[in-house]
């Protein structure tokens, strides 16, 4: 699934979620079923996930996000590119993000 993430594509939050940064957490509520469900359907991200999520604005490409994070976290871009792709794959599988034109 991670391989399906295009490194030269931009991704952003899909229209099927509500996402809010509250009390230090990024909380994602899927709405695809027509109901926001606090019972087992509330998602959250770890620190790395939050840093990636904040950059998913629908304009920045995967490679660009990894390069930016590489400077912030002092980690090799290829490692962060894999992290970004891994999270995007999870988010894409749940229709929480979409590829943007």
């Amino acid at each position: 699934m991670e391989d399906l993430i295009k490194r030269d594509a931009a991704y952003g939050p899909s229209g099927d979620i509500v996402a809010r940064e509250i009390e230090g957490e990024v909380v994602i509520v899927p709405l695809a079923s027509g109901v926001g469900d606090m019972e087992g359907e509330l998602y959250t991200l770890n620190e790395t996930g939050r840093a990636i999520w904040r950059k998913l604005d629908g304009t920045k490409k995967v490679r660009e996000i990894a390069a930016e994070l590489s400077e912030e976290f002092e980690a090799p871009p290829e490692v962060l590119e894999a992290d970004v792709a891994g999270l995007l794959a999870e988010l894409l599988k749940r229709k929480m993000v979409a590829e943007k034109e």
Binding site: V18, V29, V35, M38, L87, E90
Partner: protein
């Protein structure tokens, strides 16, 4: 605590984790309802017993074009505590709503319209839908709650029940 269902960066937030503050829950509910979608969450407390009990799953829908009516059960932000509550509308005065729990002694005072988040459209207990006493029944319950006799009557019945149970 149950294991996360997904990878480390993204995971399901479990009910075992510290709950969000009332303000945060209100923000989430408002964000979902503003999108025209319903929101489900678990009831806490006994203030709406017997219609809504602790642990019941409540579904709240956006108000839409229809303003909340007396007798309906609404989700709102309490003016003093900032917490999200689910109580019955017992009256409307000067554009402000009066709300009260069916099993609460004190009313919630006047609640401005903008603090009403949505209306309760469904309550489930053990996976089964339960009757919430809205519509015509709701209006009658609201009148009884305002006059105070409903809570007094329910408490008197509970005391009698406990006495009889002790006696057996």
């Amino acid at each position: 605590m149950s294991e996360p269902k997904t990878g480390p960066a993204l995971r399901v937030r479990t009910v075992a984790e510290p709950p969000f503050s009332g303000e945060a829950v209100a923000e989430l509910i408002r964000a979902v309802l503003d999108r025209g979608k319903a929101f489900r969450f678990r009831a806490l407390g006994l203030s709406m017993s017997p219609f809504i009990k602790d642990g019941d799953v409540i579904t709240v829908a956006p108000l839409g074009a229809a303003p909340p009516r007396t007798g309906e059960i609404a989700t709102f932000v309490h003016s003093v505590s900032g917490k999200v509550r689910v109580h019955r509308i017992v009256g409307v005065e000067r554009g402000r709503y009066l709300l009260k729990g069916d099993n609460a002694l004190e009313s919630d005072g006047e609640v401005p319209a903008e603090h009403i988040l949505g209306r309760v459209i469904r309550v489930e207990r053990g996976g089964r839908r339960v009757w919430t006493g809205q519509g015509l029944a709701g209006a009658a319950i609201a009148r009884a709650l305002r006059s105070g006799w409903l809570v007094r009557g329910l408490r008197r019945a509970a005391r009698t029940f406990r006495r009889e149970k002790k006696g057996t």
